[in-house]
Symmetry: C2
Amino acid sequence: MKNDILLKAAAGAKVDRPAVWLMRQAGRVLPGYRKLRESVKDFTQLVKTPELACEATLEPVHTLGVDAAIIFSDILVVPEAMGLPYRMIENKGPWFENTIDSAKDIDNLKDGTGADWDYVLKAIRLVKKELNDQVPLIGFAGSPFTIFAYITEGTGSKTFSVAKRMLFSEPAMAHRLLQKITRTTIEYLKNQVREGADIIQIFDSWGGVLGYDTYNEFSLQYIAAICDELNKLVPVIVFPKGAFFAGAELNKLNCRAVSLDWTVNPEEARRVLKGKTLQGNLDPCMLYAGKKAITDAVNRMCDRFGKQSYIANLGHGLYPDTPADNVKYFVDAVKEYSR
Amino acid sequence: MKNDILLKAAAGAKVDRPAVWLMRQAGRVLPGYRKLRESVKDFTQLVKTPELACEATLEPVHTLGVDAAIIFSDILVVPEAMGLPYRMIENKGPWFENTIDSAKDIDNLKDGTGADWDYVLKAIRLVKKELNDQVPLIGFAGSPFTIFAYITEGTGSKTFSVAKRMLFSEPAMAHRLLQKITRTTIEYLKNQVREGADIIQIFDSWGGVLGYDTYNEFSLQYIAAICDELNKLVPVIVFPKGAFFAGAELNKLNCRAVSLDWTVNPEEARRVLKGKTLQGNLDPCMLYAGKKAITDAVNRMCDRFGKQSYIANLGHGLYPDTPADNVKYFVDAVKEYSR
């Protein structure tokens, strides 16, 4: 690998500067992606066409100079493969025609065996060939609870009260669904690794709607099951958005790195997550500010996390209206950081 | 005051059981309210008609047996009084026709002097008369940042990226707007106290979208300014939803109580918020479960917070589809708690 600084940082090996990439670096703000997006009828067509997904994956490596590519895809590939097709509605988010609300619905879901996610695996093969070991490739999946939240609710939600209603009123049924999603996700990620993914990130986008006494039961234990299977193959990064309240439990995960949102204080994270590489956590809205403000914020962030066992990133995905120049300032500021 | 257990709990005086009320107890799930709501064209008409607001305020005192009334109103009364009318769109939330995005917009806003919030004050007078010192009356306002978020964004948002763009790209302008909202809010709350509000709650519903290094600057300092003026008149409860990451700073607030969402661990809250009365924090989705599950959850919560200096409540407002019977189970379980 020509540039293996991300893998070194994940492993806790000594590096000269923090590694850097951005969540949503592929498929949001870059001009090449915008042209790609205009050339097709919808987002899912990009996800399902390996040549286009490959192009979207590579653009940020070339134009931003990030230390890793992340496969252009979507966390909802997993429920789709389980038999729940969805549409991505512009400016709204995902929408499932059928949702899960009974034991029979759960029985009807396919699991990993024979699931159709070949288009993702083909995109990974193309990317690996094009990348030619320039930088590592990040594979990913949603956490089981995050997928559960979408397929019970049917769409995004401020409260996910439909999803949570099932947790609290039908806990045994909820666990059965979470187990099925977990098995499928493990199979999916193993396939990604087999095709060449060098490192895996698990996005627990919605675990933060749970609480201090329910997060462990309904989200973390299933993330732990995935980590136990995957972290022996490649390093695993877990992103528990909005769930740092579970800090001490997160530290017990069999993963190499924890990604933090911007509400987390770096010193506190270092204290609680001893031995983990930390990733994050600039507020994506900071990229609306000017060049100097961005550089200052990056320097302050790197000072606080420290250069070792650290991957500079945002605290969430890039927002769609972020100026592309500012994204480049962010990456450059990290690469120039040397304190 | 016939039942002053809430005021005693807020003051840290000895009580025989935890005090109890629920955020959104007035104006969501009770049958009387639903009839009231059907009798008018929209939510704001209820807010602006003192006799109807009074009726909605009193219903939960009579039917649920809670230890306090909270005036039926809306946090957006303040921006409305500053010259920004809004509509409450069913199942969507508030919507402002005009938003604030320039220095001139800020200049054009009225401040507290001559603001039209008389309908709220009249409702408070009616309620105080009807209550006849049965239980205390809670007055309230949104935090300045929460109001700022709505009037810059124009509506609710998952990210409040428009609001945060102003914070990070035009911080001086943002502070000028926050100051103007703060002055107006202090005036508004002083008026509520003058008419008889016995205790005040400040709802920082959206401060949690800020981060560990921006919350203090853009939200907490303005809440502190309100506390400094109000807590010498009546006890103040601050509800920093999703912002417990600022725990140590919250503890410095000149307020009597801090209300916690369900992501906060009770033992951790007692450790960090020494000397404060704590309020909260059952996940509102627990009220979808059965009677036994609710009672168990209430007992566990009261065990963990302890009976003294504690006000049992939800970790957020009641969700609209909560069964009214389950709300009653919640209140009864607290009142029967005696460990």
